[in-house]
């Protein structure tokens, strides 16, 4: 004692204040326990899961109470809308306000995110433009961020072709009419994805309109294009349309997950396209788009309103980070083309073919995203993409379409791809669940049925390719979707299911490679498949974020998110390398660039944050953040090679942001790629919330003998909630829950709480 005193003299002044502080803290701790004990089970769980309880003594009871109210308010809304998504969407529109802070760092952004909302930001640099959309689902607190970067390679060409596209591809496009749509669509897509179709559409519409509006997407497009309302959706979907200069190819793309984007690149001409769009919309908007594209004329963008995507949030994805890179480059291939092409062909008749079979195809593709039914299907299946097969099938069914499409496509495709050389990275949230796409038209429905896993991928690829091809001119676009979700009980299972899905998918493919590594909760899966000339790379990274929550509110979380994002980016980079090495294509640059771009994009863009609940990243800690990124690139190696424009290929890459010279980048081999995984550190494994909740709980009663919680060394008081572990040891619920969130053994006997859960921790 004395020793301490002597040492402390220097600090002697502080004792008073410190003592006071400690007293305050003790008082707050008491209040905390009281508060916790008075909470109902649901409230307790709610607060715990949202990490709102914080540390005893740090927060006042009032604060806790207000937090509880807040969180409760949020959820209620959600409840109201079973289809949470829908709810979200609505919200989004209003919020769409764009956040200006393009330059904000991601971190800043994350830190500022507080409210639910959706935001969209766009910007461009040189020949690249980016658009970031953030959406938050108030209900679920899921947060989603999508970023799309497009680079115009052949600006000149494109411009020439379609003015809209020109420089800032996306934006340009938007301007160009169709494009606007495109962008919008993307965003819309993203948003849409979440929202039910309807919502999606709205949003899309809303966004589209805004953006578009700004850009005139519509105008461009058409003008006519769309009818407004519908349009929006279409636009959204169709935004793409704008792009196509050339022709239009519409890209219809559905992003797998929720986002379905249809991009129809219509050429500027747009003329009539609109009409088609309309038609399309009904039937298969997307198709229409595509068709349009084929036609090249104007874009039709029919993109149906369907908001395709919608996928959304609900998916299980949660804690995982999945980066899917699907570069499917080579449009050239017939198959892909077909798929893509098909639509186009029909398009050829720019008109409305869409509705018909063609539409189906697309519908399928798109449908996935859009059509409600499809969505569901997809959702289950997995991505919306599955459609590939379907498409093919469809193709069969509609031979003519196919044929036509092929013809055109092939023709186009090759060229187009080259020309554009666009590479697109799309990250979708895999969430296939797309919920709603009410829009979906029949055609889609048809398509949906087929969801093959592989297909999915391929589809995407195709889609991409399609885009590439169709859009041909479309500037390379990189899309990144990040989804952050809260972890909910049972989600882990989903995660597993996702994993399996991925696996199966790859297996099916003719040529597939699957690598999987897992380490300390960090799991990475990489698979590559080749089908019909379309190569698909899928990298899935799962990071349990649950732990992050423990770290604390705010900063910690955002940091965690940041690191996750960084990892994703890294993943892209790696993938890029892989791709490069694999293809040896001149595009290598592309790959490299892409990642870089993304990274930059992230930095630059600010996404908008959205999310309310989610927004509270801090709070959310518990939530798992699922980030899924999917990148789909369409590369046309050949095309590139051929390509047109050499400039195009390279240009793009460079233009984007030349972070590093391709050359400087070391080629990563698969081995390296995987080795990286080993760096992940092991982390203690805790139980999931679900597992914890499954443990028995009771209230301490008078009759019980006096006992003390060995975690807090406090005797139980009547009314205290106790949790009893399988080993019969009891603790305060709030004490043991925290321990179990990171560990899996009983604090007293060290027996594993879950037989299967014990790992090394069981000593």
């Amino acid at each position: 004692m004395e020793g301490s005193d002597s040492l402390e003299q220097s600090g002697s002044d502080q004792p008073e204040s410190q003592r006071r502080r400690q007293l305050d803290r003790l008082g707050r701790e008491e209040a905390f326990y009281q508060f916790v004990n008075n909470l109902s089970d649901e409230d307790y769980r709610l607060m715990r899961d949202n990490n709102l309880l914080g540390t005893p003594g740090e927060v006042t009871e009032d604060e806790l109470f207000s937090r509880l109210q807040q969180i409760k308010d949020g959820p209620e809304q959600q409840n109201n809308t079973p289809s949470a998504e829908n709810a979200e969407d609505p919200v989004e529109p209003p919020e769409n306000s764009e956040d200006p802070a393009g330059g904000d760092s991601l971190l800043d952004w994350l830190n500022t995110v507080r409210r639910t909302g959706n935001t969209t930001r766009t910007g461009h640099r040189g020949n690249q433009s980016w658009r970031a959309v953030s959406q938050t689902n108030p209900n679920s607190g899921d947060f989603r961020f999508s970023l799309e970067i497009s680079v115009n390679r052949n600006l000149a060409e494109q411009q020439a072709a379609a003015e809209g596209e020109q420089e800032v591809p996306e934006e340009a496009r938007g301007e160009a009419s169709g494009e606007a749509g495109g962008e919008a669509s993307q965003e819309a897509g993203g948003e849409a994805s979440r929202g039910a179709g309807g919502e999606a559409s709205r949003e899309a519409g809303g966004e589209a309109s805004r953006e578009a509006g700004g850009e005139a997407s519509r105008e461009a497009g058409g003008e006519a294009s769309r009818e407004a309302g519908g349009e929006a959706s279409r636009e959204a979907g169709g935004e793409a349309s704008g792009e196509a200069e050339g022709g239009a190819s519409g890209e219809a793309r559905v992003e797998a997950s929720g986002e379905a984007r249809v991009e129809a690149s219509g050429e500027a001409p747009g003329e009539a396209s609109e009409e088609s769009p309309e038609v399309v919309p009904d039937v298969a908007p997307e198709m229409a788009l595509e068709m349009a594209s084929e036609v090249q004329e104007p874009v039709v963008n029919a993109e149906p309103p369907v908001p395709m995507e919608t996928e959304v949030v609900e998916e299980p994805v949660v804690e995982e980070l999945a980066v899917i890179v699907e570069p499917e480059p080579e449009l050239e291939e017939v198959v892909s083309q077909e798929i893509l092409g098909e639509p186009p062909s029909p398009l050829a008749a720019p008109l409305v073919q869409p509705p018909l079979s063609p539409s189906p195809r697309r519908g399928q593709r798109r449908a996935r995203s859009r059509s409600p039914e499809p969505r569901r299907t997809r959702a289950r299946t997995a991505r919306s993409r599955s459609p590939l097969n379907l498409d093919q099938l469809d193709g069969l069914h509609n031979p003519h379409h196919v044929l036509s499409s092929q013809g055109p496509i092939s023709a186009n495709a090759p060229t187009v791809p080259q020309v554009e050389g666009s590479s697109r990275t799309r990250q979708h949230v895999l969430s296939r669940q797309s919920t709603s796409d009410s829009d979906v038209q029949p055609s889609r429905a048809g398509a949906e049925p087929v969801p093959d896993v592989q297909n999915v991928t391929s589809q995407e690829g195709e889609a991409a390719s399609g885009e590439g091809g169709a859009a041909g001119r479309r500037p390379p676009t990189i899309m990144l979707d990040l989804q952050v979700r809260r972890v909910r009980p049972g989600e882990y299972r989903q995660r597993d299911s996702i994993a399996s899905r991925t696996r199966s998918r790859s297996q099916n493919s003719n040529n597939t490679f699957l690598y999987e590594s897992e380490r300390g909760g960090f799991r990475r899966t990489f698979s590559r498949s080749e089908r019909a000339g379309v190569r698909t790379y899928v990298s899935t990274i799962r990071i349990p974020i649950r732990r992050i929550s423990d770290a604390g509110l705010g900063e910690a979380t955002s940091m965690a998110l940041q690191s996750m994002i960084r990892q994703i980016m890294t993943g892209f980079g790696e993938l890029g390398y892989l791709m490069d090495s694999d293809s040896d294509s001149s595009d290598s640059n592309r790959g490299a660039n892409t990642p870089a771009d993304l990274a930059e994009a992230l930095n630059n863009t600010d996404t908008t944050p959205a999310a309310a609940p989610a927004a509270d990243v801090d709070v959310e800690p518990p939530m798992a953040a699922g980030v899924r990124a999917r990148t789909a690139e369409t590369d046309v190696d050949e095309s590139l090679a051929t390509a047109p424009p050499a400039s195009g290929g390279r240009a793009r890459s460079r233009p984007p942001i030349s972070l590093e010279e391709p050359g400087s980048l070391p080629f990563l081999r698969l081995a390296h790629f995987f080795l990286l995984n080993d760096d992940d550190e092991d982390q203690p494994q805790g139980l999931t919330k679900e597992q914890i909740d499954n443990l028995s709980m009771r209230n301490f009663g008078e009759s019980d003998a006096l006992k003390t919680c060995s975690v807090c060394i406090t005797e139980y008081a009547e009314g205290n909630k106790l949790r009893k572990l399988p080993c019969s040891h009891e603790y305060h619920v709030h004490c043991i829950d925290r321990w179990l969130s990171e560990n899996s053994t009983c604090p007293i006997c060290r027996r594993a709480v879950l037989v299967s859960a014990n790992r090394e921790s069981v000593v």
């Binding site: 020793g3 040492l7 400690q22 540390t55 423990d550 203690p684 494994q685």
Partner: protein, 194 residues
């Protein structure tokens, strides 16, 4: 977490019924900074010595183990020159065995036990460990020597001596450790017992 209230209780217990041979007190008014002294066990090379330790209680205590370090130099296979202790109870699972049902008192007791019975199979100081295993007499001799040099009050009354010496030792050892800490900071993980 429950750190404040729990520490308060722990300190009460430590003052009312401290484990034999162990004393622990709060440094200044800081709740997260404790000091402890462990008396070298009889029939051990540390007999007659009084070893000071520094205890830092992390924010997340008791979900994280307290950080304990010897301030007094000690010649021991599981304690390095900067006073860091290789002991599983001081680490979180899965590598360690810390659990919230442990407390400062029990951890100090286990450290006391570790002093009496080094664990050469999980060494932090390889040289000392092999010496302990293969040349025990030499080890014992050195350990005693260190104890005499650093942990024994050479003068009078144990009580007074303690009061005065402890601070001094701490001061000196702290400097030393500061260096050590810097060096080790860079490779913290590696230093743990292997």
């Amino acid at each position: 977490m429950q750190r404040a209230s729990r520490l308060k209780r722990e300190l009460q217990m430590l003052s009312t019924e401290p484990p034999p041979g162990i004393t622990c007190w709060q440094t200044e008014e800081k709740i997260d900074d404790l000091q402890a002294q462990i008396v070298g066990g009889t029939e051990t090379p540390y007999e007659g010595g009084l070893f000071s330790l520094e205890i830092k209680v992390p924010e997340r205590y008791p979900f994280e183990p307290p950080k304990i370090r010897f301030l007094t130099p000690i010649y021991h296979p599981n304690i390095d020159t900067s006073g860091r202790i290789c002991h599983d109870a001081l680490k979180l699972p899965p590598k360690g065995a810390w659990r919230p049902s442990l407390n400062i008192s029990t951890v100090l007791t286990s450290i006391q036990l570790l002093m009496a019975e080094p664990n050469p199979d999980d060494p932090l100081m390889a040289d000392i460990s092999s010496e302990f295993k293969y040349n025990k007499p030499l080890f014992t001799e050195k350990a005693k020597k260190w104890t005499q040099e650093h942990a024994v009050q050479k003068n009078m009354g144990v009580v007074d001596g303690n009061k005065e010496n402890t601070p001094v030792q701490k001061a000196s050892s702290r400097k030393r450790e500061a260096f050590g800490a810097q060096q080790h900071a860079e490779e913290p993980a590696k230093k743990t017992c292997l």
